[in-house]
């Protein structure tokens, strides 16, 4: 059987490229955790269930928030649910995450976050003191980000119908005139800037679950990014595109950009900041930090001439690990590749499966 005519490597690569160009297809009969992980299965689910039913808002702009025009003014509108387990872990809590996550989804669209809603699904048996602490965390996070939580809802479900506490937040932000962020603005030669070190959040949550025979001093990076985004846009108004690297990590976000822009993202492995403890833990656990979730880190694309200005603007607002980590190229088209320190290269695909379920 091995003797029959075999495709060449090039033929196989072209066949795969053609298959991938047709987009993700959902062929599963049952939802698995992978469908919620932010990788390929999530994309297939959104595409073939939700977009199929609700319609596609704007083909080029499936961003973290919708951009809406009201009486000539532009608003951004977003929503997100938080189901992280445990509900409190080093560096953050589910309440803090629920505020920061929605603030960040608005900020990376170029919006100034203003108002948030908060809806709670509570499992019976949760201590009121815990709920009060979560509410206090949310208030503190809202205060820090300069947003107001203005409406909400509460539901309680029987034991087993939820896991302690789920929170859904929605947010509205105002987009100042003149801001044009989007994958369509990205050009070959542009540089990629990262606001901080990666993979802290996912590992912090995993460690907090206590089922690893491994301990390390790793805390979630959960933080509001709106002030950093404003500092970046003030320093580099021609910033092309931004996205916070949450579920699926930097690798998945870079792939979303590659697909939306048709250009390739080439990352320099040695330039990507990863804390030593985080890198060590990832090596031990067989995880690639590129796919581990962040909650206070975003990727931005800026014109090459402004890359260092962008990095320095982020460093000045306290994001001291901000770095220029790669560039956009036209050839090869539409992929993400990592170049390592000794000249080796590898492809970075969208994440498959879910190494760390319920991370946010």
């Amino acid at each position: 059987m091995v003797d029959r005519a075999r495709p060449s490597e090039s033929e196989t690569l072209e066949r795969i490229a053609a298959a991938r160009a047709r987009g993700p297809r959902l062929s599963d009969d049952t939802i698995t955790l992978a469908h919620g992980a932010g990788g390929k299965a999530s994309a297939a689910l959104v595409e073939s269930v939700f977009l199929a039913a609700f319609g596609r808002p704007d083909p080029a702009e499936l961003a973290d928030a919708a951009r809406l025009t009201v009486d000539g003014g532009r608003l951004a509108f977003t929503t997100d649910s938080y189901v992280v387990q445990p509900i409190r872990f080093p560096g953050a809590s589910i309440g803090q995450l629920a505020v920061n996550g929605t603030v960040n989804d608005l900020a990376v669209c170029g919006a100034q976050p203003r108002w948030l809603s908060a809806a709670f699904v509570i499992e019976e048996g949760l201590a009121v003191a815990e709920l009060r602490r979560q509410a206090e965390d949310m208030a503190a996070a809202a205060d820090r980000a300069g947003v107001a939580i203005v409406t909400g809802d509460t539901k309680v479900v029987p034991r087993g119908a939820a896991d302690r506490l789920f929170i859904t937040t929605a947010g509205i932000g105002w987009i100042p005139p003149g801001r044009q962020l989007g994958a369509a603005q990205v050009r070959a030669g542009d540089q990629v800037v990262l606001s901080g070190s990666i993979a802290d959040h996912g590992l912090a949550v995993m460690m907090a679950r206590g089922n690893l025979a491994l301990a390390a001093d790793i805390a979630s990076d959960s933080a509001p990014l709106n002030q950093a985004v404003e500092a970046l846009l003030a320093a580099v108004p021609q910033t092309r595109w931004m996205r916070d690297a949450t579920r699926g990590g930097l690798g998945t976000v870079a792939n979303e950009l590659a697909q939306a822009s048709g250009l390739s993202v080439i990352l320099d492995e040695a330039a990507i900041p990863v804390k030593a403890a985080v890198r060590g833990a990832c090596d031990l656990l067989g995880l690639d930090p590129l796919y581990v979730a962040n909650e206070g880190c975003f990727m931005a694309v800026v014109p090459a001439a402004a890359a260092e200005t962008a990095r320095d603007a982020l460093r000045q607002v306290g994001l001291t690990a901000a770095a220029v980590v790669g560039q956009m190229v036209a050839d090869p088209p539409g992929v993400v590749a990592v170049r390592n320190a000794f000249g080796g290269t590898r492809l970075v695909d969208m994440m498959v499966g879910d190494p760390l379920p319920r991370i946010c």
Partner: protein, 392 residues
Amino acid sequence: MKFVDEFRDPAAAKQLLAAIADLTAADPERAYRFMEICGGHTHTIYRHGLEHLLPPQVEFVHGPGCPVCVIPMGRVDDAVWLARRPGVVFTTFGDMMRVPGSAGSLLQAQAEGADVRFVYSPLDALKIARDQPEREVVFFAVGFETTAPSTAVTLARAAALGLTNFSVFCNHVLIEPPLRAILDSPQRRLDGFIGPGHVATVTGSDHFHFIPDEYGLPIVVTGFEPLDILQAVDMLLTQYRQGRCQVENQYARVVRPQGNPAALQLLAEVFTVRDSFEWRGLGWIPASGYRLSEAYADFDAERRFPLPGRRVADPPACECGAVLRGQLKPWQCQVFGSACTPEKPIGTCMVSPEGACAAYYNFGRMHRAAARAVALGGAARSGPVGTATRPA
């Protein structure tokens, strides 16, 4: 992680690449096919883009040493059957969850209500058994001599604790029999081996003398960092240059010639070698797998539960067997990347990060020219890796 950084040092890599280029330059017509036995090596090769850094005369052939890849479908079906059994907590390494059986994977069984939990160590499974004495906890043990000792330690501890709700579904396998099967195959075209560093930690590097002695091929027992693999290629080529054919130990910082006697002793107590074990793609190989010894029979899931034990043929389209024997490159398989992808795998080689197909699909799926353009792109701009070039 200073210990790791030393083995990813760009300057040292460049020196080794220059030495390798020098060793192959003498005779450009002479090609070398080196089989890396371990899936861990395959992963490192693609993860760090090593294939594209080497001269075209040096080719890596991917070997059978991916523990997930060699598990036949019937054993996966048995695992799914165990996981679906009421009262059972089925514990497994994460990789195994997505391996397709003939009626779905453990991940699908979990989505449909089975209590499947992924663990990083069999000791985690033991802890679940201690914490939940009302549940039957089964551990899905897979792997070569590398992971068998941790299963053995766990079983010894379970016996000492007198646990009655813990058992092991044993699929541990041995490295020597499949290597002999490959070496005995009339289709073999190999020039040497990048030897299994982790297995050799247990068995010792001396265990591999049969390869030069009986088959006349060199082997270098090798670590798992990119520099380890480049150094192993350099050592293999140097053996050819100097007319030697030996077992060499590149991984001497970890591997001893005699291995780990305490681990070997424990393996001999806890396990006995099966008459025969089925390997995916390689078929039944005599004396190639472990089962639990009589002393540990009470912990043997195969004796404790009436497993279906059906033998299931691989899907007709699947060519994992030829890939595991090093006869096919991943991209030569008829279904690679179309019907068989990491998100919808048909074969095991597409599931595990150590599987050749998954490693190639996820990391290596690039034209050599494109990969070089990306690598050299770094030379054109100033930056932290601005000096990345390939030796002439």
